[in-house]
Symmetry: C2
Subunit: 228 residues, 2 copies
DNA sequence: GTACACAATATTGTCTACAATTTTGTAGTC
DNA sequence: GACTACAAAATTGTAGACAATATTGTGTAC
């Protein structure tokens, strides 16, 4: 009596998440065209619902909709990629500042627990979990900072970071996540604002530095500049 | 041969703007119900288009959509209002920092020109222009900072600030905008990062302080807490 | 043989009708 | 007389059909 298609009749949010995950896991490459009718069939929903999902994904920056042309998985340029990190440094500095003032022992426990999950995922090698938990750590910090807006903004930025990582990740990725995450948490636990901010800034710099964001892949977006 | 209804057949963006303006000018009060069919008739468009506009406005935080219940003009709580300023201080600090490094003489001219417009609007007393230009100054700073994301985030925050101002504005508003704006610009022109940041922070504090954000109006959102 | 114009196809954008849900009003019963 | 259950009205949510637009393929003229 089971429905063979587990995604049948899924609400908009589920569809968004499935597409988001596919992008984050690189099953959907940047530039891929997303035909509405095709998606509607895959998810066994109406095209109207797919359109809702696509517009939602567009505002998260994961897909780009060109009028009368269709939706594509976004291809953030190098400049846009760097820009995401500019914004993240601004937001996350403030998040860390606030946490140094407000973090409860319970919060610290929760953060350490999350890092432990990251370690487990790292050992198991489950890419989906690694991607989700790594971003989740930063989101958890934002959530605990008590500012719904900083959280919301960072949610956006983490999504975009996933796409950027999928697009520009260099071959040699050494999973430095959990260790640096723990360092940030310990500074927060010690209420050492300056150190916590510095650690977070360095962490974000490391993440950015691990990407192939230099020269080369700069203009393959436009056919003209790519071929001439 | 003129169509009596000037908004007939308007695209989604126009509808959003008209509603946004109505909220910013307090013609639509927080909590007002926005019936889709009614709006569709007013703007002479289909209900589907109204739905698009409403979901876009929800994303900007100006309206709240409750499933199967309808759309209402948002009623940001005091906490949410303060939160907007937390986020703005974080974003605008970074905007000012970047501008101190990157602002060209041309940028400074443009900023001074904008402030002049604000002064003119202030003298004419056109509330619509005052609201728009006052927020526009901050958006111009963000635009000139060269970060599309900081700009996009601030765009959101300025919209929400308009709603908050409409909701919590105290009776005695002394239009301190242009003068403080000019002070920020002059510090930027002088490449004085610390002073510019400080001036901006104080300006935002003043704007926040002018609102009736203390106690009282805290929980009239929920009928239960309002009446019991 | 090449280039331009035109037609066919495919895909998106929009509107209208139907279904589901909530709210409001009414009647019946304790 | 008040409370509960039911029914009717109104409003939102969804889906399917139609129209507009862009792209691709073909034919003809130079």
């Amino acid at each position: 009596m089971y429905n063979a298609d587990e995604a049948a009749g899924a609400p908009t949010a589920i569809i968004c998440e499935k597409i988001w995950l596919a992008i984050a896991e690189r099953r959907l490459r940047p530039g891929t065209r997303l035909k509405e009718e095709q998606l509607a069939e895959i998810f066994s929903v109406s095209r109207a619902r797919i359109r809702q999902a696509l517009t939602a994904l567009e505002r998260d920056g994961l897909v780009t909709i060109m009028p009368n042309r269709g939706a594509f998985v976004s291809e953030p340029s190098v400049d846009e990629a760097r820009d995401v990190f500019v914004a993240r440094r601004a937001i996350e500095q403030r998040v860390v500042e606030r946490l140094c003032e407000r973090a409860t022992p319970k919060d610290i426990v929760r953060l350490r627990g999350h890092i432990e999950e990251e370690r487990i995922a790292g050992r198991s090698g489950n890419l989906s979990d690694i991607v989700r938990l790594s971003g989740g750590f930063h989101l958890l910090l934002a959530e605990l900072s008590g500012s719904a807006f900083l959280f919301g903004i960072l949610r956006d930025l983490v999504s975009r970071t996933s796409l950027i990582t999928a697009m520009y990740r260099s071959n040699h990725l050494h999973n430095c996540g959990p260790d640096e995450h723990l360092a940030v948490v310990e500074h927060i636990a010690a209420r050492n604002v300056a150190s916590a901010i510095k650690e977070m800034a360095e962490h974000l710099n490391h993440v950015e530095a691990e990407l192939d964001l230099d020269e080369e892949k700069d203009q393959p977006r436009d056919l003209r500049t790519a071929l001439l």
